[in-house]
């Protein structure tokens, strides 16, 4: 169903989803993005630099979270601007006895809501709330989206 600007109101919740990231997801993102920082794939190194263990790339969380906006609007090129602050780490567990490629991993909750509307430009600012348990992982996660006027 096509999204129409006049159907939107500030504060309206648009969509929500669950995102799971396991160690294999981190390795895949490291390779695809070229971000080979070992804090994202080597526990020993991560621990030695003071982290609780391997953590997800902030850019992986940012990149995967926006998929919810793409699904809602139905067109990734409608996303004109997308920004976030990285507020908290996402430690990715590696449970004993699990296959890292099949483990459930860290479970993030993502909610998209209308933050602001601009009728003249026919754009909506979609605010993403991304949480790990009770903790906000991303803050000021905002996608500016072009919406059909009618």
């Amino acid at each position: 169903m096509a999204v129409i600007f006049t159907d939107l109101s500030v504060g309206q919740e648009l969509a929500s989803t669950t995102l799971r990231l396991n160690r294999a997801d981190l390795v895949r993102y490291a390779g695809a993005s070229g971000d080979l920082n070992p804090i994202h794939w080597n526990d020993r190194f991560a621990t030695e630099v003071g982290l609780p263990g391997v953590i997800a790339h902030g850019m992986l969380t940012m990149g995967a979270a926006v998929q919810l906006v793409t699904e809602w609007i139905g067109d990734p090129t409608a996303i004109l601007d997308y920004q976030t602050r990285f507020a908290a780490m996402v430690p990715v567990p590696d449970p004993a006895g699990s296959n890292p490629a099949g483990a459930e991993g860290a479970e993030l909750t993502i909610v998209a809501a209308v933050g602001k509307l601009d009728a003249a430009a026919s754009t909506a600012r979609v605010d993403l709330t991304v949480t790990l348990g009770e903790e906000k992982v991303l803050t000021k996660a905002q996608a500016l989206v072009r919406v059909a006027a009618a």
């Binding site: 995102l19 997801d25 895949r28 993102y29 390779g31 695809a32 993005s33 070229g34 971000d35 630099v49 902030g58 850019m59 992986l60 940012m62 990149g63 995967a64 926006v66 998929q67 793409t70 699904e71 067109d75 990734p76 090129t77 996303i79 004109l80 601007d81 997308y82 920004q83 976030t84 602050r85 990285f86 000021k140 996608a143």
Partner: protein, 148 residues
Amino acid sequence: MSVNAALQGTSYPPAPAYAVGREKIREFALAVKATHPVHLDVEAARAAGHADLVAPPTFAVVIAQKAEAAYIQDPASGIDFSRVVHADERFTHYRPIVAGDEITATVTVDRARAAGTGGMVTTRTELVDAAGQPVTTVLSTLLVRGEE
């Protein structure tokens, strides 16, 4: 070592043009769990009016981070990469990035602030196409943790 504030305002010569490939777009889309057909299926991308596969909204980071390396790895920057924490990121798209694009990225140090043995830096990377037309602006802020 601490962040060298004197580099604020500096632009680095652009890295060689980045050739955007179909398989790289598919690989990146898979990695960020982006499933829209315009990222994966050339016919679907063309049917939607694009010249070729369309990159996901954060793909520009691949090109920007290569370019940012000129600054981050510059010994004069004073940045200890092992102590870097990503603070924020922003993409402003003027048009979609599609397979076949040749993108040139120029990095400017918008802000460089020292704090103790670390500091905070914001880079602005301007991505332009082969015709010199703007494609995307990438803003990235890194926090460099000081030594305890």
